[in-house]
């Protein structure tokens, strides 16, 4: 599938530390507000007093703040009680069984008083939709005192605690206290700074999920803090950042909602730069969903604002996206002009990520115009720059394209190996959009090598993902390939049906592939003798 575009939502800040540091965060020495210190003392008081099972809830929006507070609690209690922290890293069916299992793994034979702090149960409680674990919890209160002999404190962000109170009332009814931590401005700012410095596209799938939950925590904190311009500006930026993470996780609807929400706040603040950034991201989303007209409108609107503001980096990003649009609609001259203009600005700014991005796209242009040697040179140069700055997403795309080059020159074994190398990275990144394209390519190789069953399996796997994402161009391309497969297997009626579907999607998208699909369809109709 040609046209493997590099369209990464801009992340705002420059990459400094790529991954989320878990320890030795800079705010460890931050002062705790007097209000939160009181809350800590109250939790300590419950643990000191209780001589049997007690159920408590702690409201804390930020996983990072929770970790800090639990550490302080340990210091505060010293030898008086043993604090066991159970952090649930994935959704669970039964909270009680999950905690018991975690304790079992620990295998600590602990004498004396112990209190169990449970973190991460919010991963089981979505902000909307069914949460069956709450029903289970609602009925399991009687089992808790049988399983635990000391206090159990469940730490949750605000929304999850409210859901629990309403949807597990019988469990909630047995609480011995709800302790609420307020957001700490210092922690919030430090976390935001850190999250802003990590590129979503280069994180592994689990890191992306982790980042999304940290961003959600930040958003809740900002919503709780008194509203003022500074916090609102940050909220808009965090919402957009979460939108990007959702985009890379293939959750397009959620990304759309977040971008809209961010833009609304920026508009209220009169923050034009924020509005321009959200418009750009919405454009990328529209582009991915196949609404090219809407994408162009959004890119142009975004670019107009960036030009007014003199924000060259954003202008360069918009030029790049408009170049991508021209490219997919077959207007190659216009695409080249836009990419080169974007490249020049990126070079002037010393924006390596932008340079790598433009070189990649120029490689695509060389590729489709048949200049394969030039294409190879550009891809390799782009990949080199990206690797230097620790980007993994762009190199995965370059590998993909180098695979296409090998593929085009008939070197199937090399192509397969390049696709597989690219696939490995894409899967680690949870980059579904690349995965389905690579499956498509691998299907083509199996098809060309005469392995029809394998080809069919790969096409279908690809189709499953592109349909899940709603990526129409991908759907149509794979349908067209499946049509060819049916021709090879001798099922002309099926083949015709598939190419008709593909053609209608291509036409809807205004894709240059529509012409080829039309030719294929007419040929088939003629063969079957059925006008």
């Amino acid at each position: 599938m040609p046209g493997n575009k590099l369209s990464k939502p801009a992340e705002g800040a420059k990459p400094v530390g790529k991954n989320l540091p878990k320890r030795q965060a800079p705010w460890n020495d931050a002062e705790i507000s007097p209000q939160n210190r009181d809350v800590l003392l109250q939790i300590a008081s419950l643990i000191r007093l209780a001589e049997s099972f007690r159920l408590g809830f702690v409201k804390c929006n930020q996983p990072i703040q929770s970790r800090l507070m639990t550490a302080r609690l340990k210091e505060l209690l010293g030898d008086e009680a043993i604090i066991i922290i159970v952090e649930l890293t994935e959704p669970v069916v039964s909270l009680r069984r999950a905690v018991l299992q975690a304790l079992e793994l620990d295998k600590q034979d602990i004498l004396g008083k112990r209190a169990i702090l449970v973190l991460g149960f919010e991963r089981t409680i979505p902000s909307e939709g069914p949460a069956p674990a709450l029903d289970e919890l609602n009925q399991s209160r009687e089992n808790f005192p049988k399983s635990f002999s000391g206090p159990v404190l469940i730490w949750l962000p605000d929304y999850a605690l409210t859901r629990l109170a309403r949807e597990a009332p019988d469990f909630w009814g047995w609480r011995s206290g709800v302790f609420e931590f307020s957001p700490e401005l210092k922690i919030v700012a430090a976390v935001e700074n850190m999250l802003g410095n990590s590129f979503s596209d280069s994180l592994s799938l689990s890191e992306k999920i982790e980042k999304a939950s940290a961003l959600e925590g930040l958003i809740r904190d900002y919503q709780e803090l008194p509203r003022e311009e500074r916090t609102d500006r940050s909220l808009a930026s965090v919402l957009r950042s979460l939108g990007n993470t959702r985009y890379y996780l293939g959750e397009y609807n959620e990304a759309y909602r977040l971008y809209q929400e961010s833009m609304k706040i920026s508009e209220e603040l009169g923050d034009k730069s924020g509005v321009s950034k959200s418009l750009g991201q919405l454009g990328i989303l529209a582009h991915a969903m196949g609404d090219l007209g809407e994408a162009r409108r959004l890119y142009q609107e975004s670019m107009k604002i960036s030009e007014e503001l003199g924000d060259k980096s954003d202008v360069s990003a918009s030029l790049h996206q408009l170049g991508n649009l021209a490219y997919v609609t077959g207007d190659l001259g216009e695409a080249r002009r836009l990419y080169q203009e974007g490249l020049k600005i990126a070079q002037d700014l010393g924006d390596k990520s932008g340079v790598s991005r433009s070189l990649h796209q120029l490689g695509n242009l060389a590729y489709v115009t048949g200049d394969l040697a030039e294409a190879r040179r550009l891809y390799q140069e782009s990949m080199k720059i990206a690797q230097k700055i620790g980007d993994r997403y762009a190199p995965s795309k370059s590998l993909h394209q180098l695979g296409m080059l090998a593929h085009a020159s008939g070197n199937l074994a090399e192509a397969r190996s390049l696709y597989q190398e690219s696939m490995k990275i894409s899967q680690e990144l949870g980059d579904k959009s690349s995965v389905f394209k690579l499956l498509h390519q691998l299907g083509m190789i199996a098809h060309a090598s005469g392995n029809l069953a394998e080809a069919r399996r790969l096409y279908h796997e690809s189709l499953n993902i592109s349909q899940e994402l709603g990526e129409k161009n991908g759907i149509a391309s794979t349908l067209a390939r499946l049509s060819l497969l049916e021709v090879d297997e001798g099922y002309m009626d099926k083949a015709l049906e598939l190419i008709r579907q593909a053609e209608s999607v291509f036409v809807e998208l205004g894709s240059p592939e529509a012409a080829q699909a039309k030719t294929d369809r007419q040929r088939l109709e003629k063969k079957i003798g059925n006008p």
Binding site: R48, L49, A50, D135, Q139, R166, P169, G173
Partner: protein, 449 residues
């Protein structure tokens, strides 16, 4: 029979003396709160019907945390002293309350009955009990051969770590069926499908079992058999049919009232209080004419004046656990009693909060009203989480009229305890004192005034 420590005189003992678990019967800390529950001894009424009539099914209802389980355990104790054989169990220990159908309940009943008889050394005619067992084996699993079944159950129970003592075959079989219904998703559906069309035979088998057991029970000196099923009111409320509004509660208590009433024994079922405020309330009272609702302890009269009687009773509840005079300044416990709305569990909870907060602030004794106010503030915040925004206008109306309408919104308000029910001659309702302090409620209250 129970040796209790004297009321606590320090904070640590006090904290551990105020726990939310229901009291076992005979616990000296029990206080008769009936004078402030409208003057009727609800459990006494239930007992009277059991002692004075032929087997009937009765319903008991009341708010979560109003003292229902404590009172039911007291009823058990009373009946046992009157020489009744009582089978008491909490339904949610046997049954998945998120997905319960009436046949699950009936299975759980016969399982518990068999266990109790076994424990008391009451044997029934073996041929009869074998016949009943094979009926269940065939209907549930299609097993016809006792030897085959015996072999299968033997290996299963040896593999599992359950059953420390040798269990009779029928107990193993019933444990297997109820266990699978509780945990196995597919097999649950299958067993239910098999049982449902045979419901009349099913009930007849249980009654055969009861009839065979009764003479043996009486030989042991018991007057009669009583079944008490607690926590059945925790059955999750779900709408099963959007068009008719039919709920899981309707399905159990109304559509299968006949089956629930068909057992040849005295039986007491717990029912969610919200059912008595649904559109189906009359229908429910028609199906089960013998029902009682345990109201809250009155801390205020209907006209808003103070109800000293109720407050004194709650102070008495506190005094059984804590040495109130040495630990609290005068009037502090009265304040907590008033703010609990007469809901026992919230009152005990507030006592615990007060002790814990006082300890956190250095542990000065006697505890001041300022600390108690902080404890109440915490309870207010908790109710703030429980009440959805759309309820506040309606809550203001309840506070004004002291009545609730029979609709789903008001049912939800009773269910989450933002509205409490009281009694003096007539039933009346009021808004929980913690809810009254919420800003949203105050706004709605201003509007209505």
């Amino acid at each position: 029979m129970m040796n209790r420590d004297p009321p606590a005189t320090n904070l640590k003992d006090a904290y551990n003396a105020v726990r939310l678990d229901p009291l076992q019967s005979g616990d000296p800390r029990w206080v008769d709160c009936s004078p402030a529950r409208g003057g009727t001894d609800v459990m006494g009424l239930l007992a009277l019907r059991i002692e004075g009539s032929s087997p009937t099914a009765q319903l008991i209802s009341g708010h979560r945390g109003c003292g229902k389980s404590t009172e039911l355990l007291r009823l058990v104790n009373h009946l046992e002293r009157e020489n009744f054989l009582v089978v008491y169990f909490a339904a949610d220990e046997d049954i998945d309350m998120g997905d319960l159908v009436y046949t699950d309940l009936l299975l759980s009943i016969i399982k518990r009955l068999e266990r109790t008889l076994f424990d008391k050394g009451i044997k029934i005619d073996e041929r009869l009990s074998d016949g009943i067992m094979m009926w269940f084996a065939e209907v549930a699993y299609g097993w016809k051969d006792e030897a085959v079944m015996e072999a299968k159950l033997k290996t299963e129970f040896e593999l599992g770590l359950k059953a420390p003592a040798p269990l009779p075959l029928i107990a193993k079989l019933l444990a297997r069926i109820t266990g699978q219904i509780r945990t196995g998703h597919e097999i649950r559906k299958e067993i239910r499908l098999n049982l449902d069309p045979q419901i009349y035979q099913f009930i007849e088998r249980i009654n055969e079992f009861i009839r065979a057991a009764l003479p043996e029970i009486q030989k042991k000196g018991y007057r009669d058999l009583v079944l008490i099923i607690d926590n059945l009111d925790r059955i999750v409320l779900r709408v099963l049919d959007e068009k008719t509004g039919r709920t899981t509660h309707d399905a159990l208590y109304l559509e299968h009232a006949e089956q629930l009433k068909a057992l040849d024994a005295h039986i007491v079922y717990t029912v969610p209080i919200s059912m008595f405020y649904s559109l189906k309330a009359t229908q429910l009272a028609g199906a089960f004419p013998n029902y009682e609702i345990l109201p809250m302890i009155k801390v205020e009269e209907q006209d808003g004046s103070f109800c000293q009687g109720g407050i004194d009773l709650l102070c008495n509840v506190a005094g059984k656990r804590i040495d109130v005079e040495s630990l609290f300044q005068t009037g502090v416990v009265d304040f907590l009693a008033e703010k609990s709305g007469g809901m026992l569990r919230d009152f005990i909870r507030l006592l615990g909060y007060t002790v814990e907060l006082d300890q956190a602030e250095g542990g000065k004794i006697p505890i001041t009203k300022k600390v108690a106010e902080k404890a109440f503030r915490r309870l207010i915040n908790e109710y703030g989480r429980m009440v959805p925004d759309e309820h506040f206008d309606l809550l203001a109306k309840v506070a004004k009229n002291k009545q609730v309408r029979n609709d789903t919104q008001h049912q939800a308000m009773l269910y989450n305890l933002s509205v409490l029910e009281y009694m003096n001659g007539d039933r009346w309702c009021d808004v929980h004192p913690a809810v009254r302090e919420l800003a949203e409620f105050k706004d709605a209250w201003k509007q209505i005034k």
